[in-house]
């Protein structure tokens, strides 16, 4: 009975009102899709890192790490670790394949100008994960399935020998189908020997014996493919972008002679037989016990941890970025849910008579409630299904938009969109269905309260004019007060949860105010509209004024998304101005020299001596400052530890100090002492002030450092600690620099010096040299690309809201068909009627944008002063981008007017009542 009723009363109607049903479904779908897409996108960056981590970790249960790596001469003293199981020292990093394949001519002879182009971003280069191991040790930890290998190794200076015929193994081998570890080692002994994956070889057309050029830091070296790995173990790293080399070769290529990145330990199961196939993976308790035992015995400066720890650190590092994206993605969903509310409300209002009739015929209230909730469920279900499909598509786009941000600012990741997992689908339904029902609950309840007498009331389709009562202002006022209170609260675990709550409350409060606002607007606009737009203005205003309650929903939805855009625009605009100012103040050097490959977490890239010498040797160079950045774990989080020449910063450079007042004096005193300066983001995140003492993990163990100043920095949100090069060297060793800043003598043109320095480099070295102006532009370019995704999310939310406006207008048009016909009968031309509807649409847009501007400015204050400070720790100078907002406002009004075109077309249909 109920299902039949549902079929006839709800489904048939939904089918009839195809356009409205479709818009709503698309609206929900977009909301769900955006949420899913952002989930997938966030997962892609962290998961990219974590899957790489897992495939590389192999059977590693515990890893030994140290700040800046481990001095390899400490390894013999760690022999006791063997009691726990196998261990293997590892060099891991990223290189870029230069050139498209073995057949393409080398790019080494390129002119300096092409060299400074972003070669590593050019399509011909591809980042690969490079693992350098002692294969003799490593086979207990990782599985490499060698396919084809090249014949006997030929060390430098000796003639090739035929002792190991190509493609065959020596007859003494006892292993069928696999090389012995010794033969594996032979493949790799040359510093230029590499083994790549079959996938990579196929993709780029490499064969055994081919040469390929890899760039690490500023060095391009030629390697020879000695073997191919099947898709197993570490070779499964992101799409097979994996290169295996000997640990010695990797040290040389990455310029990390003398140290290893970490020591991987495989726990041997207790009393397990030596035959490893039988060895099972150690349990979690076993690992914990071993961790405790190892930690107790490790010398100062070394830490034992699970490999997953690095993934967790990266996850935490990206958490703020991801949380912001997630929050934004929910805006589109909320707007989509407004649409459900809207649709069901319209459905209820439009069918009061029918509901009354059903009630008169004996349908219970609960059944009526069920019918309309059912409508919401059908919409939610269809929207979710469509959204899941759409989410995958949007995710690709979103990954594309965030990839450069993540890789520029955080981690190197060959991000590919992860596949939709089962839990994504569960998530989509868990969000889409209940929220649709919640959105529909109010109007459905209202439907259930329709009395049977409504059936008799005749044509009361349109509500009468609305009256404003002061009482309706109480709720929004309270919600807005709550927002104000929430904005005062601090972060939770480094996340601005209360800030988000305050934003949400602001949005809710403002939405509740929308009817009152429109009412006032309608009242004050009647005269001007008539004067400005004539009879169409009169009619449009009249129509809108009649439908305020319903319009309020559409306007609120649109206003919410617009306010988010305004807020984000103000925040980004302010941020951009601030960064531009900061860049102008702090970037003082004439030239900035960095390695060809950009460093990120897990991918350290350094400058080599020839490049540094070339810069220093140029007659125009007056002074050169070198930086060295390393990743440091502080409070369980990854921060950047930097070393610079404080003398040079004082004499040539410029830092903007936040505290103390005389930061330069503090910097001077820091030279030669155990002192550091920290960035504002660091200070905010860890509550650090000048005068505090930080305990840092140095290779010699934890050491105290005095914080002497806090400076402004907008480049690294995870926080930076900087010490003078001398101090750094004492504790962390004389590590090669990751960047140089050169100050020129007067009269030397930066562009020319740059060209001359680049021309003096040989083919094996590629540095990126920015002039001061280029770097400023680059900083802003990176800044802008960071926010590309933000705007994209905004636009989706606005599109959904526009759909809502279109759907609402269409409904109003359909409902008023008699009136509109009558207008046509009494002589309104088709165009006049269309103009009325389009004016209505534009008015909705204008009203929404007006609200959006006000609410958006309020939200931007929250974003700049609460959310940003709590999640990134940056001081942003508040500034309103007036021109941009004006442009956006016009665009919004035009866009909503456009959204009114289809309903306007429908409105001109002349419907005359026929003789029955």
């Amino acid at each position: 009975m109920q299902s039949r009723l549902f079929n006839q009363f709800i489904l048939r109607r939904m089918a009839q009102e195809r356009t409205r049903t479709l818009t709503t479904v698309v609206g929900i779908a977009l909301g769900i899709a955006v949420v899913l897409a952002i989930q997938l996108t966030n997962a892609s960056s962290v998961r990219g890192f974590e899957t790489a981590l897992t495939s590389v970790a192999g059977r590693t249960s515990i890893e030994i790490v140290g700040t800046g790596g481990i001095d390899e001469t400490r390894l013999p003293d760690l022999g006791w670790l063997r009691a726990f199981g196998g261990m293997s020292p590892v060099i891991e990093g990223e290189m870029a394949i230069v050139g498209s394949g073995p057949d393409t001519p080398q790019q080494g002879s390129s002119t300096p100008s092409t060299r400074t182009e972003r070669g590593f971003r050019a399509p011909r280069t591809e980042a690969v994960k490079v693992l350098g191991v002692d294969i003799l040790q490593d086979l207990t930890l990782r599985d490499y399935a060698l396919g084809e290998v090249q014949g006997g190794s030929t060390p430098a200076g000796s003639k090739p020998e035929g002792s190991m015929p190509e493609g065959s193994k020596p007859e003494g081998s006892q292993h069928e189908g696999s090389l012995t570890s010794q033969q594996f080692l032979e493949l790799l002994t040359s510093p230029r020997a590499i083994v790549i994956t079959e996938k990579l070889a196929r993709r780029r057309g490499y064969a055994l014996g081919d040469e390929l050029q890899l760039m690490a830091g500023d060095r391009v070296s030629t390697f020879v493919v000695r073997g191919l790995l099947k898709d197993e173990g570490p070779a499964k790293v992101v799409d097979g972008s994996f290169v295996l080399m000997d640990i010695a070769a990797a040290q040389l290529a990455f310029d990390r002679l003398g140290r290893v990145d970490r020591l991987d330990v495989q726990l041997r199961g207790d009393g397990r037989a030596a035959d490893e196939a039988a060895a099972t993976a150690p349990g979690s308790a076993e690992i914990d016990a071993a961790l405790a035992a190892i930690s107790a015995r490790l010398p100062a400066g070394l830490t034992a941890q699970r490999p997953s720890r690095r993934g967790e650190q990266v996850e935490r590092m990206l958490a703020a970025f991801h949380l912001n994206l997630t929050a934004l993605s929910w805006v589109a969903l909320v707007v989509g849910l407004f649409l459900v509310y809207n649709t069901v409300t319209i459905s209820v209002i439009a069918r009061r008579e029918e509901i009354g009739m059903l009630r008169a015929l004996g349908v219970t209230r609960r059944q009526v409630l069920g019918l309309f909730l059912g409508e919401a469920a059908v919409l939610g279900l269809a929207g979710t299904l469509l959204g899941i499909g759409l989410g995958r598509v949007l995710a690709d786009a979103a990954v594309g938009l965030t990839r450069s941000t993540v890789s520029t600012l955080y981690i190197a990741t060959a991000a590919s969109t992860p596949a939709l997992a089962g839990w994504h689908i569960v998530l989509a339904f868990a969000i889409g269905l209940p929220l649709s029902l919640v959105a529909a609950s109010l109007p459905s309840l209202e439907a259930s309260r329709v009395p049977p007498t409504a059936a008799m009331r005749g044509s009361d389709r349109l509500e009468s004019r609305v009256r404003l009562r002061a009482a309706v202002l109480v709720a929004p006022a309270m919600v807005l007060l709550a927002a104000l209170a929430l904005a005062q609260l601090g972060p939770v675990d480094g996340r601005p949860l209360f800030g988000y709550a305050a934003s949400f409350a602001t949005i809710i409060g403002a939405s509740l105010l929308v009817p009152a606002f429109i009412f006032l607007l309608a009242r004050s606009l009647a005269g001007p509209l008539r004067r400005l737009l004539g009879v169409e203005g009169l009619l449009a205003h009249a129509n809108l004024a009649a439908a305020i309650p319903r319009l309020s929903i559409s306007v609120a939805a649109l206003a919410v998304s617009l306010s988010m855009m305004v807020a984000v625009a103000v925040m980004i605009g302010s941020f951009r101005d601030t960064v531009a100012y900061w860049v102008g103040q702090t970037l003082q050097a004439d030239l900035f020299i960095g390695p060809g490959l950009q460093p990120t977490v897990g991918s350290e890239q350094t400058l080599s001596a020839p490049v540094i010498e070339a810069v220093e040797a140029h007659p125009g160079v007056e002074a050169v400052d070198s930086f060295r950045n390393i990743d440091l774990v502080y409070n369980g989080n990854l921060v950047v530890l930097g070393a610079g020449n404080f003398d040079l910063v004082l004499s040539h450079g410029s830092l903007l100090f936040k505290a103390p007042a005389d930061g330069r004096e503090a910097l001077r005193r820091a030279i030669g002492t155990e002192s550091v300066v920290v960035s504002e983001a660091f200070a905010n995140k860890y509550g650090t002030r000048p005068g505090d003492t930080l305990t840092l993990q140095t290779p010699q163990g934890p050491r105290p450092f005095a914080v002497v100043a806090v400076y402004y920095d907008y480049a690294v949100d995870r926080g930076v600690i900087v010490m003078d090069r001398g101090t750094f060297r004492r504790y962390f060793g004389d590590l090669t620099p990751t960047g140089l800043a050169a100050y020129l003598k007067p009269g030397f043109e930066p562009e020319r010096v740059r060209a001359e320095v680049l021309a003096s480099l040989d083919e094996g070295h590629r540095a990126f040299i920015y002039t001061n102006r280029d770097l400023r532009a680059e900083v802003l370019r990176i800044f802008d690309s960071t926010f590309a995704i933000t705007y994209a999310l905004e636009i989706v939310a606005i599109v959904v809201a526009m759909l809502g406006v279109g759907a609402t207008l269409l409904t109003l048009v359909l409902e008023r068909q008699r009136d509109l016909s009558m207008l046509r009968l009494i002589g309104a031309a088709r165009r006049q009627v269309q103009r009325v509807i389009v004016i209505e649409a534009a008015l909705i847009g204008a009203a929404s944008q007006a609200i959006g501007l006000v609410v958006g400015l309020a939200l931007s204050v929250l974003l700049v002063y609460v959310i940003n400070v709590q999640s990134f720790g940056w001081t942003i100078q508040f500034r309103v981008p007036v021109t941009f907002l004006a442009q956006v406002s016009i665009a919004v009004i035009v866009a909503t007017a456009v959204a009114g075109i289809y309903p306007a077309r429908r409105a001109t249909r002349l419907v005359v009542e026929r003789d029955e």
């Binding site: 390899e72 013999p76 022999g79 003799l136 007859e171 006892q174 012995t180 010794q182 640990i247 002679l257």
Partner: protein, 357 residues
């Protein structure tokens, strides 16, 4: 030793010093490493027993194989030498034969062989001289371990002629080779976690050179025997791929006072008795031998109380038989017995080609 040879095949002998006649050994200096030679090993075997008379055999070997005398890569991890070590313990009573191996590079001091004193190590396995001139060897694997102190006993016996032990027809295919033939031994042997206090007698070989075998040489059978009359006998016989005996086979007899007698190929015969053992690797080893040294009136018969003493290496993928043996026979008619170690290589596939330089 075959494994070592196979390791060395990847490299040319060009830059390495070749064993040449006229080499004068100086001790203890010559216990230490000779890195200018490509291949070097320190080889301990021994027959020991607990105070209750339970018998064990052990073998601990440290190999150094030169790969590249001057690697172009300045990294400490660049492979100049590969270090290999084998550890085997035989427990005839428990029918247990346990072995372990290591194959490593030097790296930042993880394995190595000192040149200024006798100290070779492969990770945590070591052999060195203590301050009283005793050899201390420690090696512990998962299922076998030795921790032994060995006195030198008799003076080093120099094998071969004029300080050189010729292995092939070419002049360079030779080694410098000496043995400590009867070393009083005391310490602990561990089998499957069980510790046994033992004492007995060991034999140490130290050999270094650059190229050893030639293409036609299939493998060898080697014996170190401690006779009950206080003498020791070392014999090795090189087998050619055509099944004949190589004329470079030779041996050394060490008198009770340590004087040595070189035994050329023609001075002895070494023949299988026909008793064989087919090991898990598929190789079939002749585990019984008869020895005749007519010039000395020696007629000996070698047998083993334990058939399966095959050592199968993962690192090099090569198998050989190395185990304790018993000895019975006559010397000029007088009955004698003895114990020793037998090594048989080249029974799995033809290694001659692989070894050729």
């Amino acid at each position: 030793m075959l494994l070592v040879l196979s390791l060395s095949t990847v490299l040319s002998a060009a830059d390495w010093r070749e064993a040449a006649a006229g080499y004068r050994f100086v001790f203890p200096r010559d216990h230490a490493s000779h890195p200018e030679y490509k291949i070097e090993w320190w080889y301990y075997t021994g027959n020991v027993e607990t105070s209750a008379g339970r018998r064990f055999g052990y073998q601990v070997t440290f190999f150094r194989v030169g790969v590249d005398q001057a690697p172009e890569n300045p990294s400490r991890w660049a492979v100049r030498d590969l270090y290999m070590a084998h550890l085997a313990v035989s427990d005839p009573e428990g029918r247990r034969y346990r072995f372990d191996e290591k194959l490593t590079r030097g790296g930042p001091g993880l394995s190595g062989a000192a040149t200024d004193r006798y100290h070779v190590w492969n990770e945590d396995w070591t052999a060195s001289l203590d301050d009283q001139g005793r050899h201390v060897i420690k090696a512990a694997g998962e299922r076998a371990g030795v921790d032994l102190v060995l006195s030198e006993g008799k003076a080093p016996a120099i094998n071969g002629i004029d300080g050189i032990s010729q292995k092939g027809a070419q002049a360079g295919n030779a080694s410098h080779y000496y043995s400590l033939t009867r070393m009083p031994t005391r310490g602990v042997i561990t089998v499957d976690g069980e510790r046994f206090e033992v004492s007995g007698e060991s034999w140490m070989d130290h050999e270094f050179g650059t190229s050893f075998l030639e293409r036609e040489q299939q493998g060898w059978d080697w014996l170190s025997l401690q006779l009950s009359d206080g003498r020791e006998l070392m014999l090795y016989q090189l087998r050619r791929s055509d099944g004949t005996r190589d004329p470079r086979s030779s041996g050394t007899l060490v008198d009770t006072d340590g004087r040595t007698t070189h035994l050329a190929a023609g001075a002895f015969t070494l023949a299988p008795t026909g008793q064989t053992f087919t090991a898990p690797s598929g190789a079939t080893y002749p585990i019984g031998w008869t020895i005749a040294v007519p010039g000395l009136g020696l007629d000996l018969r070698v047998s083993t109380p334990m058939e399966n003493q095959e050592l199968f290496t993962r690192g090099a993928g090569i198998a050989y038989w190395e185990g304790l043996v018993d000895l019975a026979g006559t010397s000029r008619g007088t009955r004698l017995t003895g114990r020793g170690y037998l090594e048989m290589t080249g029974y799995k596939g033809s290694l001659g080609r692989v070894m050729t330089q």
